[in-house]
Symmetry: C2
Subunit: 237 residues, 2 copies
Amino acid sequence: MNLILLDPAELIEPDLAHLTDTRRLTHLRDVHRVQVGDTLTVGLLDGQMGRARLETLTPQTATLRIETLNTPPPAPLPVHLVLALPRPRMLARSLEHVTALGVKEITLLHTKRVEKSYWQSPELKEEKIHQHLVLGLEQARDTVLPRITLCKGFRAFLDDQLPELLQTRQGLVAHPGMANACPRGVSAPTLLMVGPEGGFIAWEVEQLLESGCQGIHLGERILRVETAVTALLSRLF
Amino acid sequence: MNLILLDPAELIEPDLAHLTDTRRLTHLRDVHRVQVGDTLTVGLLDGQMGRARLETLTPQTATLRIETLNTPPPAPLPVHLVLALPRPRMLARSLEHVTALGVKEITLLHTKRVEKSYWQSPELKEEKIHQHLVLGLEQARDTVLPRITLCKGFRAFLDDQLPELLQTRQGLVAHPGMANACPRGVSAPTLLMVGPEGGFIAWEVEQLLESGCQGIHLGERILRVETAVTALLSRLF
């Protein structure tokens, strides 16, 4: 937790935040070992970042007096990530990684090799997703929540969403065996598509290429989804 | 498991392997859903890769008849990774990620912000480390085990190991706030040093820079060690 992310609802005065959740209180006490009077890095959800002074600390609450709040959050990556829905534990970790890396638009997509049961996972509940995104923001010192869209049909994605997404973005499909190596140092707005463990099926790749996406690969090594996504984002941007 | 990695000790004839471990047998049965007669991708530990036919399968054993074994493993990354010892669960995942990415030389280093108790973790036992390396190789389709060195003293590393490592490699210290952004597309042999959660202390960075290493950063976002290591390797090579 490199930033205390304050929800506007936690502001009991314009410059006074009141925390009551066990997770952050425990972390402040046991990891940061804070004491009343300490100055801490804070950020307002979807807003600016700055410093606050710890005014009170009890086992159940903490109050933070905001002293400055005028640093903008770091720049987002110019990417919309389309990720075939990973299995629940990998989803949790992948959401934290990509949020920490600065992705702000994420579509979780059904493809042939996604197990249908994954869509019933409690990890997909709004409050669970929110938790993982917040962990990613706290880690990276960012305040801007990514927007998550669930798309349970590949055909519907192709027909109804992909054309609009590609109007203002280059489309890249990461898949082993594609013709081109993943480019480096891209600044153009990009739609990055990553398949599930086991990959897209050939038909899905064909459809994406026919729709105007370009196929890219990361070499002959086959990486786990969470490794591949971090590797792709880091090489691309 | 994208490759069945055969230990030479599992060869009961020059071209016949006999598997008895539950982990791979369960995976073959439940995930790959193999049947006798199927052809599978195999590799010989520290050797070549090829194909084998499943000759027998029982709940306790499988035998594989090797048909070809003449594909070299993928090229290694030209890097020696020096990683401040992460906490045990992060160590396990990081070893799998970096092995899958092709790192072959890893030094696990003590630094000021590494908790001393981590050196007592069962994850550091030889057979546990071996397990994580094998998982990384099986994932990436590689056969060559990385070499792991434990170094429990930062001063000893500086004095006894670093000068020799830098004789044939450029040294890069990844640390927030360094002057230069992480370079891209490097092919020179590289020593990459990554600090613990919380980072190197200032004195450690100074010592490494004075020894001839160059400081690099990944931007203003602070990443978890496992995310940072994957991001660094993917951007560098």
